[in-house]
Amino acid sequence: MFGLNTKDTTLLLIVAMLTMFAPFILNPFPADSAMAQFNAGYPDLMQRFVIFGIFAIGFNILFGLTGYLSFGHAAFLGVGSYSAVWMMKLLTMNVIPAIALSVIVAGLFSVVIGYVSLRRSGIYFSILTLAFAQMSFNLAYSVLTPITNGETGLQISLSDPRILDGAGAARYPNLFGAEMNDATTLFLGGWSFTFSVGYYVCAVIMLLCFYLSVRIFRSPFGMMLRAVKSNQQRMNYTGLNTKPYTLAAFVISGMYAGLAGGLLAAMDPLAGAERMQWTASGEVVLMTILGGAGTLIGPVLGAGFIKYFENIFSKINDSVLHSWFSFMPDGIEDLMVTLVHPFVGKGWSLTLGIMFMLVVTFLPGGLVEGGQRIGRLLRRKPAKDDSASGKTEPAE
């Protein structure tokens, strides 16, 4: 189906089910229960899951396939956001032109950065991309203030021209009138599930992006990219020019990042320079490696995992901990709170760091490899040597 083999179709359908039913799946606990804070099914967070999923899917096309580790992809995310906000300031609050422009501008930007950075490989390539991203970040903060509005960040205002929008047009980002922050909440017993327009717009776009990435993985082009990672020398002596291949991969992943940036702005119409900072570039590297670089589903899992930690674990403060351990005697309760305290709340990144180290050490193929190992254990099938590398089976 869809020009995919059975395995890929199944994967695509699973991802489609997960994203479409995410409001249910991510809200497993009743709204007023003690566990409700582990619910992630609110629109803002769900949008982040899928948007950063898009970002990571695109990054994986570059890093997972060619092995070129870019440390500057946040620059494309930021450029995408700025372009989208400008489109919403000047033309219309409809998100379609905004998203289209963010993809185009990020694509052009990545042609320039990619052309220069890809003259080198390995660590030098990473440093070049990092340098470009930091330059973009600092420019956005300082000299480009007329375009980026500096530290305040670029926002929409009522006085913007919006030449395509009439007097009665929607004042918020919308898709032909359906506003992104429109939502309906379904109450079922103690549970509540929120369905927002913005989330479903992002989810559908992510599904399309995921589908495109599966097609790229299974295409001759995708195979050439894996060959670049494997042996560039043999590529050159097989009559293949590696430069356009790597540049194309770089631009495609830059366009994915621009799309993610455009969607961020479409969900919440503001863009700030901090979106281009090196920590944001590092985050997508972590997402991809945590989930499983070079696998189809890994980057999406990694993005969800990291965004979940960032938003859920960071909200657990001392009073929440006290309520958890309140059944214990006072002394032990305080001791438990003291012990757990560094790993939650502001210390969420410590937990994430430990998880990351464990995954990289014991599951070099990321969460996907973990899933494969569990699957093999369940099926009680002896592990085969060649399939233990944690890679998806190549198209054949």
Binding site: S219, P220, A227, N231, N236, G239
Partner: protein, 252 residues
Amino acid sequence: MGILEVKNVGKRFGGLQALGDVNLSIAEGSVHAIIGPNGAGKSTLLNCLVGKLIPDTGSVMFDGQSVLGRKPYEINQMGISRVFQTPEIFGDLTVMENMLIPCFAKRDGAFELNAITRVVNQHDVIDKAEAMLSDMNMIEKRHMHASSLSRGDKRRLEIGMCLAQDPRLLLLDEPTAGMARADTNNTIDLLKQISDERDITIAIIEHDMHVVFSLAQRITVLAQGTPLVEDTPDKIKGHPKVREAYLGETAH
């Protein structure tokens, strides 16, 4: 007029004259061996032919066209394929994918953005790759990762990958270096078969005299960056200059 004409090629690395004044003509359809002691300039000469090095002086013409200043992938597309001393294959890919890549390179050229078509639907390329794997007796290993092949199989695969491009000239750089005797003999048989069955010219750089004398129709002996003699294997065997270059004065 040979298919490959090397004229007055010189290459200097700092104070070292790696190639002095090399003239070499490789006849179309022949198996031509280039031998010489360590440091004779064999590898430097080979690198000048494939675009890895650019000689300081002289010219290299392949089928009437100069190869100088062209990138390795351009020279390859002209019809020169190279087999490396240690097999250079795509270790992370399967044997079949290894064979598909040169087939795609032959069909689509140096770059083609076919990102939406599926590999499994490219029947012409798949048939060609399968036929080549069968020729190499590797069809049953098609799903293996290339890195898990034995040394001899990696060599076979690499040679097969080069042949899949239908090159007119196949360059081999010590193809049996570090191989067991059985693997060496297999490689000799394979190369003999290729030379007999295909319309191809083979140039081989080799240390192993057993390989050279089993295969070559002409032999060029290189010493200190210049060709010493060029002749048939029988003449080379007894040639005093060759014995001198290889064994030193004491051999007399």
